[in-house]
């Protein structure tokens, strides 16, 4: 059975297996991107979507206010990713290397957010953060504040919920990377005279770097384009990349400008992500240098 499978893989037939995936990506990723690029470099005449090609969309989009929105999204994505990395790493570390009993129970607890729609999670936060919500009740009860504070429609609410929603996406890849580390390697490091800090820095960190990278970029890229959380908790007043794009496409109905803004923000995303990638390379190199 297995041998036959191997033969099949070796033969030209392997195309047969990857065709669905390739077609899927072609229709739902590559084509839309091409479509967006064409839109961004063209202008319609009201009847036809594409009348002639021009760069004027980009002149229109390249405003300080738009760039500020992109920077705000980069900041949101960076803070979310860095904060969840800082919290996630110790959690994943203890889960992978120290907790032996009830491990699967804890993993189950961590995976619960994956089972609940983001919208439901956001609405749950409404009940906690609103004027009449849990936190205000608590603060008034202990007498810390006299009048309820409005936590909603603020950066605080956005960051808090972003962090909460994306934390599991950070923990899981780091956990799986740490879990693969042979405990004997850590013992060997101690055996050769290293202390905890040295072992963490020179052995555990570089060996879990793939997980850190995966978790970081997963959170970074997704939270850069996050639409639901800023629009619901920011009260449609605080604009981020995701909210502005939807504004262009669904409210302003100017697909050409929207597409140009997508191109602009995506290239900024690419540049910033490359910088983080460079940083991770640097950290990996540094951690291999002892002393």
């Amino acid at each position: 059975m297995f041998e036959e499978f191997k033969k099949l893989i070796k033969s030209e037939f392997y195309f047969f297996f990857i065709t669905p995936a390739v077609l899927w990506q072609l229709f739902f990723l590559v084509l839309p991107i091409i479509f967006v690029i064409i839109l961004s470099f063209s202008v319609g005449d009201g009847v036809r979507l594409v009348d002639h090609f021009s760069l004027e969309n980009f002149y229109e989009v390249m405003q300080i206010s738009h760039l500020a929105i992109v920077m705000r999204s980069i900041l949101l994505a960076s803070i979310t990713a860095i904060a969840s990395l800082i919290i996630a790493y110790p959690v994943a570390y203890f889960l992978a290397l120290h907790i032996k009993r009830f491990k699967f129970f804890f993993l189950f607890l961590l995976s619960i957010p994956f089972l609940i729609n983001v919208l439901v999670q956001v609405y749950a936060w409404f009940f906690i953060l609103e004027k009449n919500g849990l936190i205000n009740h608590l603060l008034m009860f202990i007498g810390l504040v006299k009048k309820p504070i409005n936590f909603l429609n603020s950066y605080f609410a956005i960051y808090l919920v972003m962090f909460h929603v994306y934390l599991p996406f950070m923990i899981m890849p780091i956990y799986s990377a740490l879990e693969k580390i042979d405990v004997k390697l850590i013992e060997a490091s101690y055996d050769l005279g290293a202390n905890f800090r040295q072992t963490l820095w020179h052995i555990i960190l570089p060996l879990s770097m793939t997980g850190i990278r995966a978790g970081f970029f997963l959170v970074y890229v997704v939270s850069f384009g996050e639409y639901v959380i800023p629009s619901l908790l920011g009260g449609m007043k605080l604009f981020f990349v995701g909210t502005l794009i939807s504004e262009y496409f669904f409210i302003g109905k100017d697909w050409h400008l929207g597409a140009a803004f997508i191109c602009l923000s995506c290239s900024m995303l690419f540049i910033s992500a490359s910088m983080y990638n460079w940083l991770f390379n640097k950290i990996t190199m540094q951690s291999k240098i002892i002393r």
Partner: protein, 363 residues
């Protein structure tokens, strides 16, 4: 170089007692083997010496200092792990240099000492290779070099040959003996393989259940004069006969059945054994002579028929069933291409041995 002394060490995990009241002194600058069946706690003992586990009770001394609860990184003890545990993100050089770098040695000192190690273990060509690219035997050399570069008082080897193939094992065993002689460190070698232990050890300890020490001695003492049937059976193969002792005109006999009794050596404790209902006699298969025709000059003789013949190449193993049903193994060297006295299945054969080549055992 320092000795290791364990005093009444007890270790349990949850409800499982792994090692119970374990006391052992391991002499300095010797190659010492801890041999025992799997699950006898030998690895746990090694891990306690290294510091990976803390004993629940009892003390571990390195020389005269109590190291029972000393952190791992402060012990002058290094370990060669079973699967080497080389750092996969470092190359050969960096793996070997790890402990020196951690200890903040100067670059020139590191270069000098690592170069010495690379030369000693024949790894010069590979120093910038990733440890994933080199063979199992080379990985093992790197693991040993990494552990000894630190010049520890004691080197612990946890089944270091388990991942190597047969031919390589014999080669590495000899190299390990030479290495120990060269470095003069105390080597503690944990294994379940009796051939390995017999080959390398100056001294060895045989462990039974819960880390109970069955016997400590040189390989020769343990092989030739086992103190219990467990040791006799575990180290090498043996034949165990049992019965009661009889004394006749200063000669000691073991009665193995109604018609047969065999002469046995008079050990120091024979009088104590004499009172016992059942005593055991161990005779190594290679110390037994097999013949179809009667032979003379042997102190013991029994008869049986050939139940099985197992050809090993350099020797042949015959399984002989005695009249009382006991099965005896006999090894005969295959010295000639065309032996005169060919023994075949179901042949009635005479089994001879000298009484001084057998050992009387209490249990």
């Amino acid at each position: 170089m320092k000795s290791i002394k364990l005093e009444n060490v007890t270790k349990s995990f949850g409800h499982d007692i792994i090692v119970k009241n374990f006391s052992l002194e391991i002499p300095s600058s010797k190659f010492f083997a801890l041999l025992g069946p799997s699950g006898c706690g030998k690895t746990t003992i090694l891990r306690m010496i290294a510091g990976f586990e803390e004993p629940d009770n009892g003390q571990i001394y390195l020389g005269n200092t109590d190291i029972s609860h000393l952190p791992i990184n402060q012990r002058r003890v290094n370990t060669v792990f079973q699967n080497y545990a080389l750092f996969p993100h470092f190359d050969v050089f960096d793996n070997i240099a790890y402990s020196l770098r951690i200890k903040q040695f100067s670059q020139s000192e590191i270069d000098r000492r690592v170069a010495k190690m690379l030369k000693m273990f024949g790894l010069e060509q590979l120093k910038h290779k990733s440890v994933r690219q080199i063979s199992g035997g080379q990985q093992q050399r790197v693991a040993i070099a990494r552990a000894v570069i630190n010049e520890p008082d004691v080197l612990l080897l946890d089944e270091p040959l388990a991942a190597l193939d047969m031919r390589l094992r014999e080669k590495v065993l000899v190299e390990l003996i030479e290495l120990q002689e060269e470095l003069g460190m105390t080597f503690i070698y944990v294994t379940h393989d009796q051939t390995e232990a017999l080959t390398v050890a100056d001294q060895m300890a045989i462990l039974g259940k819960e880390g109970k020490i069955e016997q400590v001695g040189t390989p020769k003492e343990i092989y030739e004069f086992p103190r219990s049937t467990m040791v006799a059976r575990f180290v090498g193969s043996t034949n165990i006969l049992h019965g009661i002792l009889e004394l006749e005109q200063d000669d000691l006999y073991l009665r193995i059945d109604e018609h047969n009794r065999v002469l046995v050596p008079k050990h120091d404790n024979w009088q104590e054994l004499f009172k016992q209902k059942k005593v055991y006699l161990s005779i190594r298969p290679e110390k037994v002579e097999l013949s179809k025709t009667p032979l003379f000059g042997f102190s013991n003789h029994v008869e049986g028929f050939v139940r099985a013949i197992i050809y090993h190449g350099r020797s042949t193993q015959y399984n002989i069933a005695l009249a009382n049903g006991t099965l005896m193994q006999v090894f005969e060297q295959n010295e000639e291409h065309f032996p005169k006295d060919i023994i075949d299945y179901d042949d009635i054969v005479h089994v001879y041995w000298q009484m001084e080549n057998s050992v009387l055992l209490k249990n």
